[in-house]
């Protein structure tokens, strides 16, 4: 789990490389075209296409299970080693439980007492908890990211001064940060609101989430070409008008992939921070709880890990909906296509 975090700094700048340069050069007019390309392909396609997608997803899942079971059947029970370094997992019950055992475990009780939840219910509850925490973090992260991007777009000097630190912020290892943030949390008092541990976890999620948004959004705000900016200037549009009418709409295609990355980061951040601070209720804590009993039965641990994956998917789904909403507004002239009122005529 913790290993996953250092990858975010490297994936972060990708959005700049992938979505950026082409449209950045061509200016605001092409933004509309980009949106069409960026929108999910199935958005306007017939039912058959949707069915095909669902079937493909199911087929991929079945294939994955089949590969898992195949390896279980023929793989070496001692695992594979290359120059003494383990490269292949052991095909044993403890290392790779059967897929049906993993599913069956969902129906087992966690603890053999009357009031105990089944593992499935516990995982679902934990997912709900982690999703809420991650979502709170994402919201904070997006707000901070957008504000930073606007500030950096407004003043060159802010960009020069701040951007290196924004990038450096992501090289701080999360596991070093989490206990610190949890520590500060104990001293914070926001009015009548008492700081709770989940808020520290949200803060860590936000810390990871703000980065792709800040970088992607900045790129988006800067994407309108000189001709578009000149046009605005010829209308004597103020900086705010330019921001609202030109830069913000132009940044949407950059913001969307950034949001996806931010969402994934927020989930990772929340789970890792939960592990790190031992926050009760979430998937991260569940993973540690179950891994403690993995000596005898690892299928529970896989259930928790599965829960983490599903939580990530649900979150990505939510972002897709947001994306759909944003692109729909843009396509139907929700805020962009209106001409600017001429000033002084």
């Amino acid at each position: 789990m913790t290993r996953a975090t250092p990858t975010s700094p490297t994936t972060g700048p990708d959005i700049v490389a992938s979505g950026g340069p082409a449209s950045a050069a061509t200016g605001g007019a092409s933004a509309r075209h980009d949106v069409a390309a960026a929108a999910p392909a199935w958005a306007g396609s017939p039912w058959r296409e949707r069915l095909r997608r669902v079937l493909l997803a199911v087929a991929a899942l079945v294939l994955l299970c089949a590969v898992w079971e195949l390896y279980r059947a023929v793989g070496p029970t001692d695992g594979g080693r290359l120059f003494g370094v383990p490269v292949l997992p052991r095909a044993t019950d403890t290392a790779m439980p059967h897929t049906w055992d993993i599913v069956a475990q969902l129906g087992e009780k966690e603890v053999r007492t009357a009031g105990s939840d089944t593992v499935g219910v516990a995982v679902a509850k934990a997912m709900w908890f982690s999703l809420r925490v991650a979502f709170a973090g994402l919201v904070v992260g997006v707000v901070v990211g957008v504000l930073l991007a606007v500030a950096m777009a407004r003043l060159r000097i802010v960009e020069r001064g701040l951007l290196p630190y924004v990038i450096a912020s992501q090289t701080v290892p999360l596991v070093a940060l989490a206990p610190l943030v949890a520590g500060w949390g104990g001293k914070l008092q926001l009015g009548s609101l008492e700081w709770e541990r989940w808020m520290s976890v949200s803060m860590i999620a936000a810390y990871l989430a703000f980065f792709p948004v800040a970088v992607g959004m900045l790129r988006g705000l800067q994407s309108p070409g000189p001709n578009a900016v000149e046009l605005m200037r010829s209308y004597a549009a103020s900086w705010w008008q330019t921001l609202l009418r030109l830069r913000l709409p132009a940044s949407v295609p950059f913001l969307l992939p950034a949001l996806r990355l931010a969402a994934a980061s927020a989930v990772i951040g929340a789970i890792v921070a939960e592990i790190s601070t031992g926050t009760r209720g979430g998937i991260g804590r569940l993973i540690i709880d179950y891994s403690q009993s993995a000596s005898s039965d690892a299928s529970r641990l896989y259930d928790a890990v599965l829960g983490a994956a599903v939580a990530g998917l649900l979150f990505a789904g939510l972002i897709s909906l947001v994306e759909l909403a944003l692109t729909w507004r843009r396509r139907h002239g929700g805020g962009r296509a209106r001409p600017i009122r001429k000033v002084g005529t």
Binding site: A43, R132, E194, E196, W198, G278, L318, V322
Partner: protein
């Protein structure tokens, strides 16, 4: 149409999540209590080293059975995590008391954490080195040339001291392997001797199925090195308090006595009612399972009882041995836990003696001479 709908759904979901995240049912995330006194009770925060489990049964029992409340305290128990260091939390003032192992706490003291051991609840060490019986490892000297698992992070000093005492150089005579939370590495043969707490990881191997027999592993399948027998045991779970507040704050001193006294009542109750305490621990959210927690409760009781001088009293000889090993034993990086003797008030028996006096006056057995452990049957997976 569909997209408009999707937009609405997205907005609705988002709003629901925000509301849920902000308001939320806080029963899981926030234990009751907080910084406001309720009904004249003194609020106290206790930081544990790990998640809720029978290792902390005495405190959980004292809370759930109302011993803290009877003493005028409103105790909030803060769980630990992989990166939560209780003594740091205590030193930073975010908790009033903390449970920590003596060597680790002393190391934090050396780095400036002003904390004091006010009650040594565990009289013995629970750290073992477990091997398969057929490996022929019966003492530290047999570890030569073997793959020896350890958790690192200061959990390894008894092992290193034991090996050093047996004439081995931990850095070159054995192959050190970093261990995970589970015991799979031992069971799979990746390591020859694995570090285990008698109350946790050792039970985990006994809850696993032996593929050769189809039954659970039995204690006779393993050999165990117990550092208490080897003579390199170090003191473990103790109640630590803030050194500064002990010096400057009379109310805190009073709270310390009350807290220790009520906690000991909890431990005494768990000695006499292990099943009930197990149920309290499970009810307060441990996921380790019923039979596992009963095993843990029983093993913890063995570490606490009997306490010849009374539970919580710090034995000078055991303390000195802990400090000696902490100063003299080098780990794999060549570092010792401590560079010198602890300065200032590292431990004091003042508060626990006062608490014991009150308890004895109440007729509570604080020695536990007649303590006999129960028999626990472990079940597969500990459920």
């Amino acid at each position: 149409m569909n997209r408009r709908l999707a937009g609405g759904v997205a907005a609705g979901l988002a709003a629901a999540l925000v509301l849920a995240a902000c308001g939320g049912d806080d029963e899981e995330s926030s234990p009751s209590g907080g910084s406001t006194a309720q009904g004249g009770l003194t609020p106290v925060k206790l930081q544990l080293q790990w998640f809720t489990q029978a290792q902390f049964a005495g405190y959980i029992a004292a809370r759930d059975l109302g011993y803290y409340e009877d003493a005028g305290l409103d105790v909030e128990i803060l769980e630990g995590g992989t990166d939560i260091v209780p003594q740091t939390v205590l030193a930073q003032g975010e908790a009033d008391f903390a449970i920590a192992w003596v060597p680790k706490a002393l190391a934090s003291r050396e780095q400036g954490a002003a904390i004091t051991d006010i009650a040594q609840i565990f009289q013995r060490s629970g750290t073992l080195q477990v091997s398969f019986a057929d490996s022929g490892i019966t003492g530290p000297a047999d570890l030569k040339g073997k793959k020896v698992g350890n958790w690192g992070f200061g959990n390894e000093y008894e092992l290193f001291a034991g090996m050093t005492q047996a004439g081995l150089d931990p850095a070159s005579d054995v192959e050190l392997v970093q261990q995970q939370f589970d015991m799979n590495a031992l069971l799979a043969g990746d390591i020859d001797a694995a570090q285990a707490m008698s109350y946790n990881e050792y039970a985990q191997v006994l809850e696993a199925v032996n593929p050769d027999t189809g039954e659970l592993y039995q204690p006779e399948d393993f050999t165990v090195i117990d550092w208490n027998d080897v003579g390199t045991a170090m003191l473990q779970d103790a109640i630590w308090a803030s050194e500064e507040r002990l010096e400057s704050d009379p109310a805190y001193r009073e709270t310390a006595v009350k807290f220790v006294e009520a906690s000991i009542r909890g431990w005494v109750h768990c000695r006499d009612n292990p099943q009930e305490c197990r149920d309290l621990v499970v009810a307060s959210g441990s996921r380790l399972g019923n039979s596992h927690q009963l095993w843990q409760m029983n093993e913890i009781n063995k570490l606490v009882w009997p306490s010849p001088d009374g539970i919580g009293v710090i034995d000078q000889a055991a303390w000195d041995q802990t400090v000696e090993i902490a100063k003299g034993t080098k780990n794999a990086d060549g570092a010792t836990v401590l560079t010198g003797d602890p300065e200032g008030l590292a431990f004091t028996n003042d508060y626990v003696e006062q608490a014991l006096e009150n308890l004895r006056a109440d007729g509570v057995d604080v020695v536990g001479d007649g303590f006999t452990p129960i028999e626990v049957v472990l079940e597969e997976g500990g459920v």
